[in-house]
Symmetry: C2
Subunit: 380 residues, 2 copies
């Protein structure tokens, strides 16, 4: 059986991936009197006096809601909140496994900015943080902006910022492999959705000077068709001369391709047209923009994907557990770009001698989350 | 240490009572490829084709949201959503322990009918059922009515209907102990909130003919001060002659006192004024309307409370796990009063020979939930 078949089979057998466990014993009447009534009234009364005590006396201090509306799940598109559940459950178990955070999937049946913001604000009291996930652009940008402003717990749209952190970390190490400098390379980003925006913003913070963003209609440029407010803002900054053209045009002599877009958009000829020792991050999930072996044959010096079954896994699982662990442990209210850049630097630093086959720490390495968490707290 | 101190201490030590566990292994790259990307895309795609498959492939089929706005927590009143968390976590671990249902606390920062309904509808796709909890009357009635009508998963306000089931079961057995018939006794209900309404409605279904409801201002009657739409409806039905008076007046010669109200409202003199062999259910939590030893000294034949540390625990924990287990296993969309009455009969039937010290099965008995679940499914 391949991964798809095994995954489907195991989901059927286990009925999903999550279980709730009690940390309190429940075997005797005394146990019930402590866990439930009458004893439970005491922690309630303490929190009623000072609601900050919910952080110490309940799940709040170690819990994150993994929130989606199912509008942009993996690379599968708008498949709805129910169909997004397996991915949200997956994030939840990764949160637990890597950061000992108890995360719960919240799949929303509302899809506009006001509806999503209202629902998340409504459920916020029980959570220590909000991980927004797989919400389509441009709704996701405004949702995140408003929630960061209006809530008193950390909110992060992982598709933007988790992706930004792992790509920035990976690129730092890939550039060491090919001996190029971050402020001298030409980077092309394929995809102007959540991932593309998050990556672009953090790469700027990291020192990249030459950036071109391409969506399904070509290079983003003011006045072009298919723009939106967020693309306009970015185009004004990275493409003031109003360059237009296709992905193939953009990639000619470029040093780096970062795909957060669709399977198959990158073909051999484009890789061959890039500058010497091109770096390819083909991060579309589950099927990358180009298969790694094809990219290597076409001359790529470093190839990364988001998948567990290829080398150089540039996967958000390396970032989000540690980012939220740092935010929760440090009681950080807002996760800033300076914190995210610190996390990327720390993540890159975990690979002592980067090679073309190893630019990232292993996603299985359980020390990663602590390193990232420490970086977040230090930057706070 | 008493229960309050031990409870507070353990909540501090464990940081609440819940933990998320993964049912999938996560130790190898292959594990990640099955639990997460790329394998996870397959269950997503299956559910996208038929969203009913979420019941089989995700947590949905065995999960319940325990939803409160913190406006009527235990007998503690409007202490807010954060302060309600310990109780909701308590319900969640009871769901797991007794019915193997994975329940999660959702504490809402909205308090009006429209806000609560909108929030619950928004999060419904990820859950198999909604247990409304500790929401103040009369908001709770309209919230439940609308959610039952508008959602396609079972919704139950436990304070009303869980209480209705356990009180009805307990009263059936208490009446056996004193040798009285359900259609001949005079029952006085103290408390016109969620519990009082739920108990009254199910006792009617069970055959009680003479019922008086008393709130903090006395017997409810049309035209009296402090009424609301729900009290009016009930008063028209149970008090057509417009009787008025205090709890003391109502209890004179009554057979049964059922308190779902406030500590201390029932005093010895009132018990003494009741008919022979009075039955006292003093269910206010954590402090009952009268302490059991005082009620016994005053002549009560059977005394029940909601607490784990006295005999005859009439606690919702005997009902809600099994009711939702039956509803989830049977894919029941609406939990009706006929189903609840069947659950009460089944619950009462678990005590073969009721005595004044044993009218209910033990809350520790893990077979109760299955018996209740079967009754729910049979009645469906």
């Amino acid at each position: 059986m391949n991964f798809s078949e095994r995954s489907l089979e195991l989901h059927k057998q286990k009925r999903g991936k999550l279980e709730i466990h009690s940390t309190f014993p429940l075997e005797t009447r005394e146990d019930l009197s402590v866990a439930y009534t009458p004893g439970v009234a005491q922690p309630c009364l303490e929190i009623a006096k000072d609601k900050n005590l919910a952080w110490d006396l309940t799940i709040k201090g170690h819990s994150v809601a993994v929130v989606t509306d199912g509008s942009a799940v993996l690379g599968l598109g708008n498949i709805g909140p129910e169909a997004g559940l397996p991915v949200m459950e997956g994030k939840a178990i990764l949160f637990k496994h890597f950061a000992n955070i108890d995360a719960y999937p919240i799949c929303l049946d509302v899809h506009d900015v006001d509806g999503i913001v209202a629902a998340v604000k409504a459920i916020a009291p029980g959570f220590g943080g909000i991980n927004l996930e797989d919400i389509a652009a441009p709704v996701c940008f405004e949702v995140e902006r408003r929630l960061v402003e209006e809530l008193d717990i950390p909110v992060m749209h992982d598709d933007q910022h988790g992706t930004g952190v792992v790509v920035t970390a990976g690129l730092m190490n890939a550039l060491k492999v090919v001996g190029k400098k971050i402020d001298e390379v030409r980077v092309v980003i394929s995809g102007a959705g959540a991932g593309g925006m998050g990556v672009t913003h953090l790469l700027f913070e990291a020192g990249v000077k030459q950036l071109t963003m391409v969506d399904s209609r070509g290079i983003i440029a003011l006045g072009r068709e298919g723009m939106n407010r967020y693309k306009d803002e970015l185009a004004a900054k990275i493409n003031p001369e109003g360059k237009t053209g296709s992905l193939a045009n953009a990639l000619k002599d470029a040093d780096v391709f970062i795909g957060v877009s669709q399977p198959g958009v990158l073909i051999s000829e484009m890789v061959k047209s890039m500058a010497k020792d091109p770096i390819i991050f083909a991060l579309a999930n589950p099927v990358p923009e180009i298969m790694p072996e094809i990219a290597r044959v076409a001359g790529a010096a470093v190839v990364a994907t988001g998948r567990s079954d290829f080398p150089n896994q540039v996967n958000n699982a390396l970032a989000f557990p540690g980012i939220f662990k740092g935010a929760l442990d440090g009681r950080i209210r807002k996760i800033t770009s300076a914190m995210r850049l610190a996390a990327a630097v720390a993540l890159a630093g975990m690979v002592q001698h980067p090679t073309s086959e190893e630019i990232m720490p292993s996603v299985l390495d359980k020390s990663v989350a602590d390193v990232v968490a420490e970086a977040i707290k230090r930057a706070a």
